[in-house]
Amino acid sequence: MSDPMVEVRDVHKSYGGVEVLRGVNLTVVRGEVTCLIGPSGSGKSTLLRCINHLEKHDAGELRVDGDLVGYEARGGKLYERNDKQICAERSRIGMVFQRFNLFQHLTVLENITIGQVKVKGVEPDDARVKARELLARVGLDGKEKNYPSQLSGGQQQRVAIARALAMEPKLMLFDEPTSALDPELVGEVLDVMKDLALSGMTMIVVTHEMNFAREVANTLYFLDAGVIEESGNPREVLSAPKSERLRSFLSKVL
């Protein structure tokens, strides 16, 4: 645990008086897959969104790749980063959403090239070459000219993964990537995610897919009511839950 990719120390976050995160501690080792499970409203998504600063955390310390998220420490003070700096940070953290959130007005290929061209300043031709490679990797070559609305949910989610990978992220965040999919489409998305894990990508996955967590995750965290209730090796945690809360949660989802 000497070289962590993500460090979360006592992070708090409230929405209008309701404390969603109540002192979360978590460490993600470089190149490992971390799964977050927990009942809805437990703060899993909020934690994920704090890590790439889509939400501002209220208190605590959040570091990605050694850098504080959203702030800069200088001379004993924390300076809030400006829009541009935050965007530069985010561009290296890929995120995959539950509802895919593909750009509806752009073709599949354009969805994957737009970030490269507009944010990273890659030449459009090079961006297209890379986009085609990524599409092949997620098993969607030949769909370049389609619009997202013409694809199935599983295909859209794989395009979304390709869109995130195009930015060459050092960390990938998955926010319930299969929850909005028809059951028969879940497998194709999980397969792509497994391949990605095998390639050594650091991943944080909020999921309800316990089998995926058991097979792929290096560490499993169980979040409940804004705190980490239990964590450890997924096989051990899932087969022998220590806390009553995790036992009752698992009895509902398994």
């Binding site: 965007c87 007005h105 507009k118 609305s149 979304a160």
Partner: protein, 337 residues
């Protein structure tokens, strides 16, 4: 149509008869016939209309057509009318340009997290929607009464770098342009705001997650998708603006209506010239409506799985269908089905 019920016995199906619809259609046809008849009816010849012009009685023979189509035709392409038409188009395009650009800016301000910007935008819309555009046109035309000199300098000091007299700038045309543009911006800002908030928040989040700045997100992700919602009411605004420009005739801009009134003030051919102006307005509106249709199609990209055919494509397809019916032998058609 035949349907099979109970095994092999076929029974004839009688469709529902819509008696009420037939009666309504018959009444509508009668009214349409009356309208067409009166449009092309003739008056007894040899009738004169007389007016007092500067104390002198002047008379001219009335057209034999009730709607004076011959006179309408005579004035339709006169240079005064065409010049007025050009000015109307110029005023429409320019004031819509001001309205759209300023309107989108105000909409973005209104949605800003900065309360002062948002309040400023709200106040702008409140003020310009709250006063009649005709009043605004007259006020801008007379703005020199309030501000005889326009100067650039440091506010609240006597330091000025450059100044000119208001009257020299605010001609009737400029006044109309400013009034119409600023007023339009208030309406456009609400249209643009509706478009911007119609785009799912997930799109903004996804754009942020790949590192786009707020400006890039607006330009490359949110605005293009908002256009689908913004264009139809904007088309409506353009058409509305085309006709609102006629208010500029009040302060002496010789646009289409102004040209028509100028002519009939001399010759008293009031109705024919109003018909000339109206027909031109209808012609331009028609062209604009067609343009709007194709613009909407362009920005609907990705919103529909299969975009509907354009009217021209549909005509072509139907024509093809009819021809192929004649060409293909009957048996082949049956086999295809």
């Amino acid at each position: 149509m035949n349907m099979t019920t109970n095994g092999d016995a076929t029974v004839k199906v009688v469709p529902v008869r819509h008696v009420g619809q037939w009666i309504a259609a018959a009444i509508a046809i009668v009214f349409v016939a009356m309208l067409i008849h009166t449009l092309f009816s003739k008056l007894p010849t040899g009738q004169y209309a007389c007016h007092l012009v500067g104390g002198v009685r002047k008379c001219h023979e009335l057209s034999e057509w009730r709607f004076s189509w011959d006179i309408v035709g005579r004035y339709f392409f006169t240079s005064e009318i065409l010049h007025g038409l050009f000015l109307t188009l110029e005023l429409t395009v320019l004031s819509m340009l001001v309205g759209v650009i300023l309107g989108v800016t105000i909409a973005v301000m209104r949605l800003s997290t900065n309360r002062l910007l948002s309040a400023t935008a709200w106040t702008y819309t409140w003020f310009f929607r709250g006063t009649p555009v005709l009043v605004q046109i007259i006020v801008w035309y007379n703005i020199a009464i309030l501000f005889p000199v326009i100067s650039f300098g440091i506010p609240f000091t006597n330091v000025t770098f450059y100044h000119f007299s208001t009257v020299s700038v605010f001609t009737a045309f400029t006044a109309a342009l400013v009034a119409l543009g600023l007023n339009e911006a208030a309406y456009m800002s609400e249209i643009a705001r509706a478009g911007l908030i119609s785009v799912d928040e997930g799109q903004t989040e996804a754009a942020s997650s790949i590192g786009m700045t707020r400006r890039q997100t607006l330009r490359f992700v949110v605005l293009p998708q908002a256009m689908r919602v913004i264009i139809p009411p904007t088309g409506n605004e353009v058409i509305s603006m085309l006709k609102t420009t006629s208010l500029a005739s009040v302060i002496g801009v010789v646009e289409l209506l102004g040209a028509a009134t100028n002519i009939y003030a001399n010759n008293y051919l009031i109705m024919p010239l109003l018909i000339v102006a109206s027909l031109w307005y209808i012609v331009v509106t028609t062209v604009l409506s067609i343009g709007q249709y194709y613009l909407e199609r362009r920005f609907a990209k990705g919103a529909l799985r299969t975009p509907p055919l354009t009217p021209i494509q549909r005509l072509r397809r139907d024509a093809k269908g009819i021809f192929s019916k004649f060409r293909t032998p009957r048996g082949a058609v049956g086999a295809l089905r």
